[in-house]
Symmetry: C2
Subunit: 412 residues, 2 copies
Amino acid sequence: MALIVKKFGGSSVASLGHIRRVAWAIASAKEKGEQVVVVVSAMGGETDRLLKLSEEITSMPAGREQDALLATGEQACSALLAITLESLGHRAHSFTGMQLPLITDENQSKARIIDLKTDILKKAINDGIIPVVAGFQGVSESGNITTLGRGGSDTTAVALAAALKANCCEIYTDVDGVYTADPNICPKARHIEKIAFSEMLELASLGAKVMHVRSIELAQKFQVPLVVKSSFNGERQTWIVNEEDIMENSIIKGVTLEKNVSKISLIRIPDCPGIAHQILEPLAEAAINVDMIIQNASIDGYTDLTFTIPTTDLNIANELVNKVAREIKALEVRADNNIVKVSAVGIGIKTNPGVAARMFKALSEENINIEMISTSEYRISCVIEEKYGELGVRAVHHAFGLENKNNHQKEQ
Amino acid sequence: MALIVKKFGGSSVASLGHIRRVAWAIASAKEKGEQVVVVVSAMGGETDRLLKLSEEITSMPAGREQDALLATGEQACSALLAITLESLGHRAHSFTGMQLPLITDENQSKARIIDLKTDILKKAINDGIIPVVAGFQGVSESGNITTLGRGGSDTTAVALAAALKANCCEIYTDVDGVYTADPNICPKARHIEKIAFSEMLELASLGAKVMHVRSIELAQKFQVPLVVKSSFNGERQTWIVNEEDIMENSIIKGVTLEKNVSKISLIRIPDCPGIAHQILEPLAEAAINVDMIIQNASIDGYTDLTFTIPTTDLNIANELVNKVAREIKALEVRADNNIVKVSAVGIGIKTNPGVAARMFKALSEENINIEMISTSEYRISCVIEEKYGELGVRAVHHAFGLENKNNHQKEQ
């Protein structure tokens, strides 16, 4: 009997009506003979509501307590879905991260999974009970409630699928898979049927909200068959597969716009060994993800350093950087959240050297100034002024002919 | 150093503003040198919000899941209070019932405490951390989240005070203690400084909402010094003590009005052995609390039976009784929810035989007809027509001179 882990995100369980439709879908899979393990996020908007409460109290809520607060969102949703399934005549049990337990490290708000016990789940499945697991949360070895970071329910689902050796992990969301760009920004965006783990990883890191980065890493590592589907519109889907299973020859798979990005610049800092480390170490300790880093050429023994971070970490990063800036006698610290990042992603980038130039050209043709650039094997990213974000995406999307199903994207 | 358990009910933590004031009060106690353990209910209205969600799904939500849902209310509140305390510069950790753990039986929604581990709390206290415990909840031996019944946070607080051998358990609520009657009904109601456990138990059973019945039983059993105070108005308070510590000579301590009461009458039933048992057994099986029972004198081998139940159980009780009524060929079943119960409570009742007569006289002087009567060691209750409820309370209150601080209540 096939064992399927089905994960439903916040928009799929946004209301009791949504939860009822999800319950019907689960019941129908069960009746078809699938063994189902369900993972849910909090009801749409609930995590934001809880975050707003704690932010009203303080801009720096204690991590341990914030996690205990946020974990209630998923717990409540899993209980509501289990109540609904039971009311439809199925047996269902909700489980919190602590009940499984899903054991994590002590890193509050961004915890990583250390171990995942499946005894309780296996017993439930054998007893004909549908387990409904509260995603996003775990318990640390010292007994604290932890969360896996925003979108962590995907990670819970993939980890469960790996631990249970499930036949497949289905990620249900409000779109029917992955697109070449956000259709709200780029009306000509096309649905993608198959995408490589590596490409999906880049898309997810760049703010494509379909899936959580770590869940994709985990799925790749444990080779969990992964598919993204719409909760309520079952026609199309996107499979996430190994690179060698991708037969298409497109260079670029998609274009993303990342809005949660800010930059901090330190002006006129001493250009001596260890200075970048001194600046960035406190950020690393605070688990702030520094992305692009640019250091200007040195003049008179001084230089400037600019880096990007998630806007959500801007306040704390700014505070930490200002502290170091005083120590190293920097002339000035500038913070700017008026920027976005446009990226082109695809496994063809590493074998096609002209891709970056083509992207820069597309942006310059729209008179968009590129403030920062970074590239990786599978990705080219440009930081531009926020107001040009959507236009930039459309320009790059068009430059690589992504609107055409059989685009060949030959180099120009 | 004095160790105090402080419990804050839903109205004391109804908003973030309320939570902030509670945090100040805790911080101030801590700064005075008290060791504090805090227990909180859900934010006012939150439990009702969650109940409404599950009731929208089904009228009979699965107990295990309902408890997992409701437990989130206290968890969220404990985290928010801990965040607030931390933002004031104190160290604070929230704890769920599962984290302590507070171990209960498997009786979902009405679980009883089996064991309460204090190691984690003691460690926190020794580390200078203020523990903020989510009340109302526990975990069963098989690992299910359970709740202790409405008002169960009081029970959590008293159980913690007993287990930690605390110097005192302070119950903070929206009133500054216990009154001789509900001041909203009886403007002359007087504040009570000391009340016996036995009296408080009767008051709580009769719908005085100040404290949960089981918490008072527990406090009496473990001799936990217990005091009821206002969260935000710290002048007065009511101590709940042993009978022998009450020095006042009042016969009656207070008068209550219970509205959640209905009566069912079976007319013309055979007056034979076992008939009352046959009628009431199904109600006991359905865990419906039958209170007053009256059986008329037998005429021609037939009699009438009347009993009271909580109005919240009226529908199901009526159904069960009608079934038996058909079997035993009763002439008629009459249900009436147009009644209330006025009770006088006091440890002086058992030693003052004239008290009941005085109460009946007070009601009859207002032309209020008494439909049913029951008495116990500490209580006299009269069922009267609903519309006379408030008037009845005022009449009895006045008859015993409860408005006077040094009333002597001599027999007339």
